[in-house]
Symmetry: C2
Subunit: 346 residues, 2 copies
């Protein structure tokens, strides 16, 4: 049995779900992969907990967070004075799971500092946090390479869908001519709400109630989230060094409710479509814009909880992946997928 | 630059396409993966060719085959007296690509003997040939393990779709509760033809003309092909030791044309659906049967050239993969995918 010690930074939706998954999956991980995952430490925005020996109880961490507490109050092992960065810098662990919330407009902190520290210390890093990957793709990959560790971020794009995994592994040898993606959930929910006759306020309130829309909605509805995911796909799958400034971006709010309803009447569904199109000179044109997808489109048939990616390639045909994701469990589970990819490669 | 020497057995559609791919992709393989793939030998049903030093010209092999010739007539290097098995037993090569035609009713020969020989000789094996994998999954895996080589067969299920790759790699840690697959192309083409008012003879002739339906049609239309693919999915993804006898099988011809047309009028598409459903005792129930899939079903919206798989899991949600495959290139390209998976793991 191999023991793998994890440090978990960020205990929002994803971090909590991951903590709930661990005890649920312990027997399967032991049986199939001879792995025991130990939470050596955990941090939220108010402090940390660290167990130098046996590890923390992930179910207890999840319980504390569901009650709106801080992990710094963890019995005996709470470290109220520590910030996430202190934990990452000191913990005896092989992997950092960085799941703090992303907001590109606030920069890639606090995630990126923790990730840099972990990589420099020779820890593998698994993160569903787009911020650091979008803003410092090359730097973090070089750091990981220098330390001989892995940097995995399957959860940054389209939740639990293995879009990056398929793109980087199963399409090798191909020229990718075009990518189409619907990587954002909230904007689809809002679009379907508007199409069914709701007002913007009603549709946004429903998406907030479903737990997918956050803040003032700009991040999701104005295409920032889709653009960030497209930048990650471009760098990781296309090996094309794009940044946010390379994405031409038009948000859902540039379409009015009447257009959305008439598209629905015609059997189409509006989605924020992220596209990368290869040009004759080998560069890619990147864009996010609202598109009325017909039923005949591979991504036009997903329900309101659907996300998907289509890769149009020269030798593997057109390969589409879609996921239906009604809660954050699949997104949280990508951290398990990535950890297994490092410690139990197939 | 790393040189990898291949032996290619079977020069039908897939083998020829693979030969055409190699020169087309040589520069990309060198640039991205520092790999040079050399065809050390090739065999068809009438003989072989072997180049102990520099390798055969894959474009010339493809040309000979398009002209209905045998590779045994390859200038200077043809070996008319050799059978495939002689080539595999003697060639100086690291990989066997086994792409001979499959017909389970004729057993898994000639493929399986070549595969056994290659594995015993310490060669990796890549094959899109279902026969040997369906009939000897455990035996061949044990042989590969004993020799410390890889056995890859991504092309055995749903053409160029990385269904096995995703199932074995990206769903780890999950309990797969249900699998639904439309892994056979010809039966969908025929079903759509019937739905549009064609007779069985017309629909089958069209599928034959499209190059997808072979022989008397029983293999594709009566569900044998779908059942074989389901057996491979069960063994490889579910790690469930199933064989053909475990699949309850009903073919497309159990549905009459009128039913097909009325389903089409109702917006449904008949497909041979292969399913694996987990039971309370941990076993899986395997079946192939014609199902009228509504538009709301993830696999009900594919065109006549679509194949797909849906994995219903406990922690990754429902993940669907579909491919549109209008010619055999994607199926042939799976051999490139598998070779890269062995020699340029990501």
């Amino acid at each position: 049995m191999r023991e793998v010690r994890l440090v978990l930074v960020g205990l929002g939706n994803l971090g909590q779900r991951f903590c709930e998954l661990l005890p649920q999956k312990a027997a399967l991980l032991a049986d199939r992969y001879a792995l025991r995952l130990v939470v050596a430490g955990a941090a939220d925005s108010r402090g940390a907990a660290y167990a130098p020996d046996d590890g923390l109880d992930p179910a207890l961490i999840a319980l504390i967070k569901r009650r709106k507490g801080t992990v710094a109050s963890y019995p005996r092992l709470g470290r109220p004075g520590w910030r996430a960065h202190d934990l990452v810098g000191r913990a005896d662990a092989q992997v950092l799971l960085e799941a703090s919330p992303v907001n590109l407009s606030a920069g890639a902190e606090p995630g990126i500092t923790c990730i840099r520290t972990a990589l420099r210390r020779g820890m593998h890093v698994v993160t569903p946090n787009k911020g650091p990957i979008v803003t410092a793709f090359d730097e973090l990959h070089e750091l990981a390479q220098m330390s001989g560790v892995r940097l995995r971020f399957d959860g940054t794009v389209a939740g639990g869908l293995p879009a990056l995994s398929v793109g980087t592994r199963d399409l090798r040898g191909a020229m990718i001519e075009r990518i189409e993606a619907v990587p954002n959930l909230s904007s689809g929910l809002v679009a379907d709400g508007l199409a069914s006759g709701e007002t913007w306020d009603e549709a946004m309130a429903a998406a907030r109630a479903a737990g997918t829309l956050e803040g003032d909605g700009a991040w999701d509805l104005d295409g920032w989230d889709a653009a960030a995911k497209l930048v990650i796909i471009a760098n990781a799958v296309l090996e094309y060094p794009a940044s946010m400034g390379d994405v031409s971006r038009r948000g859902l709010r540039s379409v009015d409710g009447a257009e959305l309803r008439s598209a629905a009447d015609a059997g189409c569904a509006y989605r924020l479509l992220a596209t990368a199109v290869r040009q004759a000179d080998g560069t890619y044109t990147l864009a996010v814009s609202p598109v009325a997808l017909p039923q005949s489109h591979l991504l036009g048939r997903m329900g309101p909880y659907g996300m998907g990616v289509v890769y149009h390639t020269d030798i593997y045909g057109a390969i589409a992946l879609t996921i239906e994701e009604r809660d954050p469990t699949p997104s949280a589970a990508t951290m398990l997928r990535d950890v297994l990819g490092i410690f139990a490669p197939s």
